[in-house]
Symmetry: C2
Subunit: 174 residues, 2 copies
DNA sequence: GGCTTTTAATTAGAGTTCTAACCATTAAAT
DNA sequence: ATTTAATGGTTAGAACTCTAATTAAAAGCC
């Protein structure tokens, strides 16, 4: 499409060791490929669910509530894999849209349970097939075995990363 | 850790066809796994680069500029895979940090070229090893072949998604 | 019982990214 | 040549997400 403006080539990159120069190219960077894939998923799904008034931010929480209705906000955060302030705004949004309600706990007045409204629950039948469709389109041309492999590799990476996070290790800045 | 608050089980989910109910579980959702993996990558990398004053938002653009210095802002957007308003704020941030400069084109007064400063260029030697490290930690326990497979599968998905986007297809809302 | 610590939720403030609308400039068309 | 189209960049406004600090309630401790 376009060529480098001044013909400048990445000479410095080639002077670096292979293991490092590899990641200089976005094409070879797992992070880059993950970002593009995730964004593609997210926007494609949102394009569909938005016709029912559900944003991608709401979607993740909605799906968890379909699996387990009535968790506390903290439990919901953990399940969905988001921080709590994020959950606060997501739940605000769900409540505003009439998809869920906040229900103060009776035995512990700090806690708040999140419950789907009938409307929120009813969307499951409409919205779940949309993810199935997005998954199908995204993985078109891949075998079931390949998709399974992809999931396995991603879970492995996520597990590695969870461990890294736990041991706050690496470079402690004193 | 905790059990469903009221013992409610996802009965509706089980009533759905297998292909759909599969995606009801985040564990089986490619989108969910992609999100977690991408976020893990992004935060782990940012934790490192931030010690040199480089945020994850800047990082993506910086890497591209190391490969090709002096592109127009639009070219940069395409290469990095971001929309142009995003590029505007990212470049603003790079300029503010003294890592790049805006250089108006002489032959076309609409265009602006983005060029690294010596400081921005010098960071390559420091920052590139950090991605290598993050990639290593993330893929620990995977063989080289598996990592290659992961990249191949992700590229395949991204290619599928690019096609979907092109043909604006699906459900045109008139 | 009263003090401290922990837990749950929220608020405040910021960063990244998007879409839509808008200018300025160039290219194309009549 | 003057009008119309496309192109490049920007601004406006919003959504999603995060970290850090705050408030309220419960649990633990002497």
């Amino acid at each position: 499409m376009t060529v480098p403006v001044d013909g400048h080539l990445p000479l410095e990159v080639q002077a670096l060791p292979f293991e490092i120069s590899t990641y200089a190219q976005p094409e070879n960077s797992i992070g880059y490929q993950l970002r593009m894939a995730f964004r593609g998923f997210s926007t494609m799904l949102e394009r569909k669910t938005s016709t029912h008034g559900v944003s991608s931010g709401q979607w993740r929480f909605l799906r968890q509530l379909w699996i387990e209705d009535g968790p506390t906000q903290r439990e919901l955060s953990v399940r969905v894999g988001m921080r709590e302030p994020t959950t606060v705004v997501a739940v605000n949004s769900l409540v505003k849209s009439g998809l869920a309600v906040r229900e103060p706990s009776v035995e512990d007045r700090r806690k708040v349970h999140i419950r789907l409204t009938p409307l929120g629950r009813s969307l499951q039948a409409t919205l779940l097939p949309m993810v199935a469709d997005v998954n199908d389109r995204a993985t078109k041309g891949l075998t079931k075995a390949e998709v399974a492999t992809l999931l396995r590799l991603l879970r492995h990476i996520n597990s590695n990363m969870a461990h890294e996070r736990d041991q706050i290790g690496g470079d402690p800045v004193p």
